[in-house]
Amino acid sequence: DAGVTQSPTHLIKTRGQHVTLRCSPISGHKSVSWYQQVLGQGPQFIFQYYEKEERGRGNFPDRFSARQFPNYSSELNVNALLLGDSALYLCASSLEVSGRPEQYFGPGTRLTVT
C-alpha cells in the first residue's frame, strides 16, 4: 500500500508570493494534519482536518490556510510568503482522531523563500 504522498518535493518562491502544497493520505485514512519544521527544531502543528472539517489549528498567522477534499486529500496554502516561512512542510495522516490516532508522515515539501 502507498504511504502518504506529498507534492512538490522542493519549491523555491520569492517573498510576497503564494504557494500551494498538496498531500494524499494513506488509503482509508480520513484525517490529515500539517506540520512545519524549521531547521534544527521539531515539527510544529499547523492544521488538522478530519472528514473535511477543520479539527485543530496551531499558532500560525491567517496567511496559512488549508482544506480537505472529498477524497481526503488536502492542500496547504500560504499567502504573502516571508523569508521565515522557509521550512520543511510535513503532512501526516491517521485513521481516526480518537481511539488509535497514530500518525504517519509523508516525505515532506521543502520550501525555500528568497
Binding site: Q41, G42, Q48, G56, L90, E102, F105
Partner: protein
C-alpha cells in the same frame, strides 16, 4: 500546553554500542510516538507506545505514563541508525507535540 523534553540533545556512538534516549513530558498523556528522521527529512514511525514496552528488532521502547517519561533503547547500533530521533505526544484531538529531538551519529 504540554511540554516535551528529550535527552541527550546529541549522541555519538561507535558502531555496535547500545544507547538509551529519554523523553519527558509535562502532563498526562494517552498516546506517544517515537520517530526516526532520516537525512532526507522523512519521519519514520518507530513505535506507537502510550504505555508499556514494545520491541522491534534492535529497538525497544518503554513508556511509564504515570511517571511521565518514555525511553527508546537502541542495541548494537549501526551507521544506518544515524539521524534525529523524536518523541511526540498527542495533545487534545490529534495534535502531535514534538520534542526538540536527539541527534544520533553512529561511527564505523
Amino acid at each position: 500546553g504540554i511540554q516535551v523534553e528529550q535527552s541527550p540533545p546529541d549522541l555519538i556512538l561507535q558502531e555496535g554500542a547500545n544507547s538509551t534516549l529519554r523523553c519527558n513530558f509535562s502532563d498526562s498523556v494517552n498516546n506517544l510516538q517515537w520517530f526516526h528522521q532520516n537525512p532526507w527529512g522523512q519521519l519514520i514511525n518507530l513505535f506507537y507506545i502510550p504505555s508499556g514496552t514494545k520491541q522491534n528488532g534492535r529497538l525497544s521502547a518503554t513508556t511509564v505514563a504515570t511517571e511521565r517519561y518514555s525511553l527508546l533503547y537502541i542495541s548494537s547500533s549501526q551507521t544506518t541508525d544515524s539521524g534525529v530521533y523524536f518523541c511526540a505526544v498527542i495533545e487534545y484531538g490529534n495534535k502531535l507535540v514534538f520534542g526538540a529531538g536527539t541527534i544520533l551519529r553512529v561511527k564505523s
